[in-house]
């Protein structure tokens, strides 16, 4: 579905992504894991065309996304930090998104109902707490049914009940044979939600296989243990070198 072909991304002197190649297939769910600043969000933003790679190409359904924009209606995206027009109310925001997408798109308001966001339709975005903002982001990501969902730290800042609601929704979508890509630092969540793992470190992909395979390679039962063992084996510890 999505093939990333040898992309590099440099922000000035800083290399955010280095020769990243990935094949993401429909029906699979990927956990994108790595320490802070390892390039996860840059990779996600590159898929969405928000960040333009320095070199390399990304294909969505065998078509380069370089000058394309229509493919984005096949992606539901939940950003890590949702930036929304601050003086808009929640209701206006949802109306606007529906309006921009066009009348004939059917919308999926399951999460709006489950999070009881309709009770706060008049609240302005600048008055929202971090958690509510996160709920709005989640509801927006799932507002239009799409074959691909990309969620950047979906459960960060959510209360336990909302986290469960969101996880159920993700599992539900996963059963519908969709492509999911989730970044998170909460490994127990990822163990429930995903089957494959991509481990990034300093802009490079170091592991790309199923979680089962990782556990098998490291002889561990739990994902968290398996991952720490993997990191120790490969010595993927931040290189403390004077620049």
């Amino acid at each position: 579905m999505i093939s990333i072909k040898q992309i590099d991304k440099k922000f000035g002197k800083l290399t955010a992504l280095e020769n990243v190649s990935l094949e993401l297939q429909t029906g699979k769910s990927y956990a994108l894991v790595g320490p802070n600043g390892s390039g996860k969000t840059t990779l996600i933003k590159s898929i969405l065309g928000l960040v333009i790679p320095t070199s390399g190409d990304i294909l969505f359904s065998e078509k380069s996304i370089r000058h394309d924009w229509k493919y984005r209606d096949k992606i539901g995206y939940m950003p890590q930090i949702g930036h929304y027009p601050e003086n808009m109310s929640i209701g206006q925001l949802f109306d606007m998104m529906k309006n921009i997408r066009g009348e004939n798109q059917r919308s999926d308001e399951e999460l709006i109902d489950a999070f009881k966001l309709y009770k706060m339709y008049d609240k302005r975005m600048h008055a929202l707490s971090g958690g509510t903002r996160q709920k709005v982001s989640a509801a927006l990501a799932f507002l239009f049914p799409a074959p691909v969902y990309i969620l950047d730290e979906p459960t960060a800042g959510l209360d336990p009940i909302s986290t469960e609601i969101l996880k159920e929704k993700i599992i539900h979508e996963r059963r519908m044979n969709k492509l999911l890509m989730i970044t998170s630092h909460i490994l127990s969540d990822l163990e429930e939600l995903t089957s494959s793992m991509v481990y990034m470190f300093e802009g490079k992909v170091h592991f790309n296989n199923t979680i089962e395979q990782l556990k098998h390679e490291t002889n561990e039962v739990k994902l968290s243990k398996a991952l720490t063992t993997f990191i120790r084996q490969k010595e993927l510890v931040a290189s403390v070198s004077e620049v």
């Binding site: 922000f11 933003k45 969405l48 065309g49 928000l50 960040v51 333009i52 924009w69 229509k70 493919y71 984005r72 209606d73 995206y77 950003p79 930036h83 929304y84 027009p85 601050e86 003086n87 606007m96 998104m97 309006n99 921009i100 997408r101």
Partner: protein, 255 residues
């Protein structure tokens, strides 16, 4: 495009700045008409407002607006919307509202006190200058990620075209006064949209005595009609070039 534009216009109208700007223009034009009974003199006084205030307001407001709608832009770009649609939508939204404010603020008093060709040319120059400076504002907005820096660049553009350029031009004419500079000055004038607007207006008012050296030569060289067409064409380039360049930069920008 129209859907995106609708929300941009809605956002601009809510800030109320446009209303204040309209009121300011209305009051100053109205006041000038009351101070002087000669419509020609009123237009001449208005010219000074148009040449200084309109570019300043246009460029600063557009730059601030661009950075304030960064969230909206970011949100739209994650949707199936073309980058150029968002960018040109922003341009059109800001340009249309500023032009509407100018035409209402200056045009309504003109209608009340009697409109003529001079007044219409005034409106036309104001609208063109607005478009040019909104264009320059968008260019300064995409040049940097920092709002303060972008406003700095915008103010620099304004300062350069309103004051510094004329000083430089005078200096050149003065230092090389031994040489025949007429044609060179004509070319140099094309590099400043404010000068072009001034010349259009002065050609219309037919007061070459007030235009100084270049203006007088301009009129002699082209005659009123050709001079106006030429200045308009060059002003058009001043609108298109910065926004086209800004669009190119924006299309490759990381968000």
């Amino acid at each position: 495009m129209t859907r995106v534009l609708k929300y941009i216009l809605y956002d601009i109208l809510r800030t109320r700045f446009i209303l204040l700007y309209t009121a300011f223009l209305f009051i100053s034009t109205f006041g000038l008409y009351q101070l002087d009974s000669d419509a020609g003199k009123v237009v001449l006084s208005l010219l000074n407002i148009v040449l200084m205030v309109v570019p300043l307001v246009s460029i600063v407001f557009s730059t601030i607006h661009f950075f304030n709608s960064y969230e909206f832009i970011e949100l739209m770009l994650a949707q199936p919307v073309k980058r150029s649609t968002v960018f040109l939508g922003e341009y059109m939204g800001v340009a249309c509202s500023l032009c509407a404010a100018f035409v209402t603020g200056v045009g309504v008093p003109m209608l009340l006190f009697g409109i003529n060709a001079n007044a219409l040319t005034m409106l036309y120059t104001g609208v063109t200058l607005t478009l040019v400076f909104v264009s320059l504002a968008f260019l300064s907005s995409v040049l940097t990620r920092d709002k303060a820096k972008a406003i700095g660049i915008a103010l620099l553009f304004w300062l350069y075209f309103s004051l510094i350029y004329d000083g430089l031009l005078l200096w050149v004419v003065y230092s090389f006064s031994d040489y025949p500079l007429e044609k060179i000055t004509l070319v140099l004038i094309a590099f400043n949209p404010v000068d072009l607007a001034r010349i259009i207006m002065l050609l219309q008012l037919d007061i070459s005595a007030l235009m100084g050296f270049t203006g007088a030569f301009y009129q002699e060289f082209f005659g009123s009609y050709l001079g106006m067409v030429l200045s308009t064409l060059v002003l058009f380039i001043w609108i298109v070039l910065p926004i086209a360049l800004a669009q190119r930069i924006f299309n490759r920008k990381d968000l």
